[in-house]
Amino acid sequence: MKYAPIAVFAALFISVPLSAAAAGKDEIAQIRARLEQIKNLYEQRIATLEERLARAEKRAEEAVESSRSSRALPRVVSAAAPEPAEPARQMAQRPVSQALSRSPGAFNPEISLILSGNYTRLSKNPDERRFQGLMPSGGERLPETRSFNLGESELSLSANIDPFFRGNFRLAIAPDNSVGIEEANIQTLGLGNGLNLKAGRFLSGVGYLNEHHPHEWDFSDAPLPYQAFFGNSLGMDGVQARWLAPSDTFIEFGLETARARSFPATDETRDKNGAISGAAFAHVGGDVGASNSWRAGVSYFAARPRERGYEDSVSGTMNSFSGRSRTWIADFIWKWAPNGNSRYRNLKIQGEYFSRPEKGTLTYDLDSVAGGTQSDRYKNRSSGFYAQAVYQFMPKWRVGYRYDQLASGNASIGLVKSGALTMDDLPLLRRYRPKRSTLMLDWSPSEFSRVRLQFARDRTRPETTDNQLWIQYIMSMGAHGAHKF
């Protein structure tokens, strides 16, 4: 019931602007459409006439040119006449574009395909990876294996559906040939008053990096907090409302009510009416002079996982958690480029902090292989952050450094407190601070291709340090990618 307010307001958002718009808009839309038709008709006629005129002019001009032949007469007529006769000849240039620019681009719908792949060299087997102290998020593991890996191939289609809606569709084809719908959503265009609604499958607007697709990441893999707290990114099946404040400073609020598709929720198997999980976020941003721009935000995500199972990879027992899970995120990004011209040099500094309080019941040994299933209270607050800087020091070349760290928190585990178990029975949850340092260098011969070399020193488990080397390519074809901030 805790999410009822979110649901009510989301419902209000959907109903208020639409109903207000529906009455007057129908008529206006009809008139508009009619006007548009008339306009197009006349423009076509004019274009045809102009084209004819152009051909005639061109012939005439060619005749004149050839008659002048060798004489280097200035092309400019105005030298002689004070009021130049150029309108006519400019007319001659005009219709060509009328015809050409009528097609808004080569791609409709905008189709793009991302290809990526990598070669990795890891000093430890990726199967042994774990974040000590944290329940595993079950997210996609990157890199998949050592040596050669095909990356995700991403196919996306998007277009305006009509003047009121836009549609986005993105498929990810994993190297094991499984196909997943990453995004399939519609988005309003015409609500006005800074309001935007999105429905369907989308990436949640929480945090900064969450809405960025893997090919837009500055490093080959997601920062540790994203891996640990969302299994790389928080996906939603639901509704999102965003509202942009009418001010020169960027101020945006967002609400989402959805079936969350990622850890820490277990909504995919939930069967219930109404709201399941919810998120809220606020972002502010702006410029400082011509050279700097920034954005900062806070986000909140609430879910009620039910029997969220995990395997303790150290002891081999299956355990599960049920209860309340909340996630707070603070994010910040600062971009600098001399005079705002990012072509030659630019610097990007970003960081995000995650905090996750969870409260509920921990059930031990689901399969009764270690002395029988037992349940008791569980309460913990885990956290994590990353901070990174990426510097383009000359065209095509960028260098970046990232530091990320997680904190398992000091869990209060009822089963241990009561003496039923000791921490030796729950080795994965033993306190630890997983850390990692990552260095990368990438080369982008054009806006559509990138080759990256990355080195990471991964200390996410106490017994060992994993040195990871990546060589990765990411290329895009088709529609021009968006320059997201």
Binding site: S78, W243, K484
Partner: protein, 302 residues
């Protein structure tokens, strides 16, 4: 949870508040069309220009500040021909502003009203970052400002019908002044006719076609691709056979490749304002063309 409720209430109240009235808010993507909107709109418009003359217009991002500005705009005056394809669609989609969506009265593209040059026969990225519609840098030819201005005055008249005649009148005055100026510039620029030049980026095609300059080659092997030393050597070698008189580059680019060629070929380097505000002397549209021609003529002197 209470916070969420408060935020939601605030959003609801603000969403229902009526929009403010006043001057027509123009969101110009590039300085040249911002300057033109000022010429035609005068006091009746409030112009915001998203980029400046020292920025590479191809590489702008959908910054938060731009999204915030687009939310309250009455009209977007874009260049079009895909110059802003990387960022403008994103800004418009996120603005929550129905007036400026593509296809609405509040969305204006300058390049739709002029003839585009260099429309590619093959649209393939092996040819670099080509714009399928043609070369987008149309403001190089001042005659294009007349077409764009005429269309823009018509559009402003539709958005602000009360002042329709004022926009038309302002355009008439602007056109008269511009035609006279064009005549004077063409006269002054006569020595530039048929002068062969090298360009760093293909940003001057319209200027060249207006003044009759001949482009001997571009230092960027393909649009948007940084010059390689091999390509530069090739261009330098071409100088022996087909010498260019100067090498020109736009104000938002580094001069290193142009300087290199300049030293090899012993020809002057000329930096041209890429748009209004690209140099200190190009504060408005008229000053922009004047400064361009002045710099070219100076380059010709050696």
């Amino acid at each position: 949870m209470r916070k969420c409720v408060e935020i939601a209430l605030f959003m609801l109240m603000a969403a229902l508040a009526p929009a403010a009235e006043g001057a027509v808010k123009v969101f110009a993507t590039v300085p040249e069309w911002g300057a033109l909107a000022r010429e035609i709109g005068g006091e009746r418009v409030e112009v915001f220009v998203a980029t400046n003359g020292l920025q590479d217009p191809h590489r702008i991002q959908a910054k938060p500040s731009l999204i915030a500005k687009a939310r309250s705009a009455d009209i977007i005056v874009a260049n079009g021909a895909e110059l802003e394809i990387g960022w403008l669609p994103l800004v418009i989609q996120n603005s929550g502003n129905p007036r400026i969506q593509t296809g609405q009265t509040g969305y204006f593209e300058a390049a739709r009203h002029v003839a585009l040059l260099e429309t590619p026969a093959i649209i393939d990225r092996s040819q670099g970052d080509v714009h399928p519609a043609g070369n987008p840098h149309v403001h190089g030819d001042p005659r294009n400002t007349l077409y764009v201005g005429e269309a823009l005055s018509g559009r402003l008249a539709r958005i602000d019908p009360e002042n329709a005649s004022a926009y038309r009148e302002a355009y008439r005055k602007f056109a008269e002044k511009m035609r006279k100026a064009i005549a004077a510039w063409e006269k002054a620029a006569l020595p530039l006719k048929n002068v062969p030049v090298l360009v760093q980026h293909k940003a001057f095609s319209y200027l060249e076609s207006w003044l009759g300059l001949i482009e001997n080659g571009a230092l960027e092997p393909l649009p948007g691709i940084e010059p390689s030393s091999a390509h530069l050597s090739e261009i330098a070698a071409r100088q022996a056979v087909n010498p260019a008189r100067m090498v020109i580059y736009p104000s938002y680019q580094y001069d290193a490749p142009s300087r290199w060629i300049s030293e090899r070929a012993k020809i002057p380097v000329v930096m041209l304002p890429s748009t209004v505000g690209g140099t200190d002397e190009s504060g408005d549209l008229f000053m922009f063309y004047e400064d361009t021609i002045r710099r070219l003529l100076k380059g010709l002197e050696g």
